[in-house]
């Protein structure tokens, strides 16, 4: 009744090609963003910011990045953690060595460095695909993890091997409270998500999808695999690098390479699978799901009164994620995003389904 595009005529090419062609979608997204900027700070507390909102938003950026590579271009990557580490350490080094740099530029620099490294490790994708590529990206993961643990220059010769960021400022305003961090992350997330949404519906996005669906056919209709695949690696690594920088600066504050180990790669991959391969919205849903489930699991024993050790909970978490992945791949390969789309279809016909 409320979600119906009847009467919304597209009278120009511009409206036909809009990002959100249906007015209700447009309003919904706009309202969600406005709510996130204005509504959330009215009631959110410290815990909600640091444990839920900030991680979800940052990991959404990483998930969007991986989704561009895996979901849109069909190149499986297990090196997400390594590329996040590149972003984090590059940003750390820029902030350390050129202290007066604007913090947003610092994050973008992290993204650009990750982009370069990502393109380097993406080169094998021109010859191999599928799980061969997964192994190649695994090489990136282990090599980068090792490099940041061992090369002293990256960590500024810190004896413990962990690095800590100093004061973060944006235009003279210190970013030190959770709500300011949240707003900064949110602003970046909105910009990056919109950019990604735009990319994937344009020429370059279609190129990626053609590559994913059948690379040989794509090549025959004139898509250069070198350009298509490397651009996917570049854009994807950029997003992941920015996410890594944000994770280090605004979520952790101080970190060591272990924060970006292979489990991080799997975590982001799971977000993409559960959220929905080839969907920007799915990246958000997946990130929210993967961040919220452990929190929920940790609370659950208190609620039902069975005390479980944290070790047991983390094992159950492993089991649950594993089972979820298999479940989603079997029942709903397109993930939560597809469920959302189905709900919208239903809503369109409601309350008269015939």
């Amino acid at each position: 009744m409320f979600y119906r595009e009847a009467g919304q005529f597209k009278t120009s090419y511009a409206t036909d090609m809009a990002i959100f062609p249906i007015a209700q979608d447009r309003w919904f997204v706009l309202l969600a963003v406005v709510f996130a900027f204005i509504g959330v700070p009215l009631f959110a507390g410290q815990y909600l910011y640091t444990e839920v909102l900030i991680p979800v938003l940052i990991l959404s950026i990483a998930a969007i990045g991986l989704n561009i590579l895996t979901g849109y271009c069909g190149q499986l990557s297990l090196g997400t953690g390594g590329f996040m580490a590149v972003g984090a350490y590059a940003a750390y080094n820029l902030a350390l060595r050129v202290p007066e740099t604007n913090i947003v530029l610092v994050f973008l620099f992290g993204g650009v460095m990750a982009m370069l490294v990502g393109m380097l490790f993406g080169l094998p994708s021109l010859r191999i695909k599928g799980f061969y590529l997964a192994v190649a990206t695994l090489a990136a993961q282990f090599f980068l993890e090792w490099a940041f643990a061992r090369v002293k220059w990256f960590t500024n010769y810190a004896p413990s091997g962990s690095v800590a960021v100093g004061r973060i400022e944006l235009f003279g305003m210190p970013i030190d409270t959770p709500d300011r961090k949240y707003l900064l992350v949110l602003a970046l997330t909105v910009v990056l998500a919109l950019a990604a949404k735009n990319l994937v519906r344009g020429r370059i996005g279609r190129m990626w999808m053609a590559m994913r669906d059948m690379d040989i056919a794509a090549e025959i209709i004139g898509i250069r695999p070198l350009y298509a695949k490397l651009s996917a690696f570049a854009v994807s690594s950029f997003y992941i690098g920015v996410a890594g920088a944000l994770w280090g600066f605004l979520r952790l504050g101080s970190w060591e390479p272990l924060a970006f180990d292979i489990n991080r790669s799997f975590q982001v991959l799971f977000m993409v699978i559960i959220g929905g391969l080839g969907s920007i919205l799915g990246s958000f849903l997946g990130a929210a799901f993967i961040v919220l489930v452990p929190i929920f699991l940790n609370q659950l024993p208190y609620w039902i009164g069975i005390p479980l050790s944290t070790a047991t909970i983390s094992h159950i978490e492993f089991m649950l994620f594993g089972a979820m992945i298999v479940f989603f791949l079997i029942v709903e390969p397109n993930g939560l995003a597809r469920l959302w789309a189905t709900a919208k279809e239903k809503l369109r016909l409601w309350p008269f389904p015939y």
Partner: protein, 306 residues
């Protein structure tokens, strides 16, 4: 100088045998069903945990027998609950499904069996032995349990080779590996074959898990050690059993030698905080192989037809 390097080489080769054992499980499943089984490492851990914990209650041979049974049940469960529903899906989807299985098994194994470090005592001799004392001053140091592992591995490969070449089931397995549809059309039941392959891979995982368990103790890191089998596969080729063995030996020896020979050079050149090249050497070697010879040493050339 030659003595220590030889010693490292032998140690590396013996470790490589263990990598081969894990890789063997991958190859078996990949050949027969085209599934790239990421859960092989988790299966190794699960099997080793089962043996380690069961042997606390009963004599080791019984524990092993029971663990074999558990692995067969596990193979059945994976076939019934996961693979059956994903027939005709793309390889990459199946791969991600096994990733899920791997996570599940890691969590499940540790929930059921506990997550401490456990010991498997197979009664193997522990004291290192020295060989070739006449050639080198002090001789070469060798761990007998690794030597035994190598022998077991050789026996295992020989058994598998005979099983594949001679028996009726083996012939069916090879037929399925060649072409699913053709095999099905001459009356080979695919699901039975897959069940069989997963069970065999589970038993291979059990052997690998016990060997690793003797060497390192049974703990979560086994699951990650098993990831090293991936570069082994790339080197050897995904479809080749001899490839898995040779690849394992090359990786095992290569990474130990790299640590000893290349490590100090790198530390000096880049001012590193310690070595640890072992952690990535295998993967980067595999990466180079992928760039120049994607099918590996013994694999079939990947030809794509439209």
């Amino acid at each position: 100088m030659l003595g220590p390097i030889l010693e490292t080489l032998i140690g590396g080769l013996l470790t490589g045998v263990l990598y081969s054992l894990v890789a063997l499980g991958f190859v078996l499943i990949f050949k027969a069903s085209g599934v790239f089984n990421f859960a092989q490492g988790a299966m190794v851990l699960f099997a080793a945990l089962s043996v380690a914990r069961l042997s606390e209650f009963m004599p080791v041979p019984f524990a092993i027998a029971l663990a074999v049974l558990i692995m067969i049940v596990l193979a059945y469960a994976i076939e019934f609950l996961v693979l059956r529903h994903l027939i005709n899906q793309e390889g990459i989807i199946l791969f991600m499904a096994t990733l899920g299985v791997a996570y599940f098994l890691d969590g499940f194994g540790q929930t059921v069996w506990g997550s401490d470090i456990y010991k498997i005592d197979l009664g193997m001799p522990k004291n290192p032995i020295f060989i070739l004392e006449s050639v080198f001053p002090g001789g070469l140091l060798i761990d007998p349990s690794e030597l035994i592992a190598a022998v077991i591995c050789a026996v295992m490969v020989a058994t598998l080779a005979i099983f594949f070449q001679v028996t009726r089931v083996g012939r069916a397995l090879r037929a399925v590996a060649d072409d699913h549809q053709a095999a099905q059309s001459v009356g080979i039941p695919l699901d039975h074959i897959w069940l069989m392959v997963w069970a065999v891979a589970g038993i291979v995982a059990l052997v690998a898990g016990m060997m690793w368990g003797v060497k390192l103790g049974v703990q979560f890191s086994l699951s990650l050690v098993a990831l090293k089998a991936l570069p082994v596969l790339i080197l050897g080729g995904f479809t080749s059993i001899p490839g898995a063995i040779v690849g394992g030996l090359i990786i095992g020896a290569g990474e130990k030698l790299a640590e000893v020979v290349l490590g100090p050079l790198l530390i000096k050149a880049f001012d590193l905080a310690g070595g640890g090249i072992e952690n990535w050497f295998a993967y980067v070697l595999a990466l180079l192989f992928l760039l120049f010879r994607p099918q590996g040493l013994f694999g079939e050339k990947i030809i794509e037809r439209v």
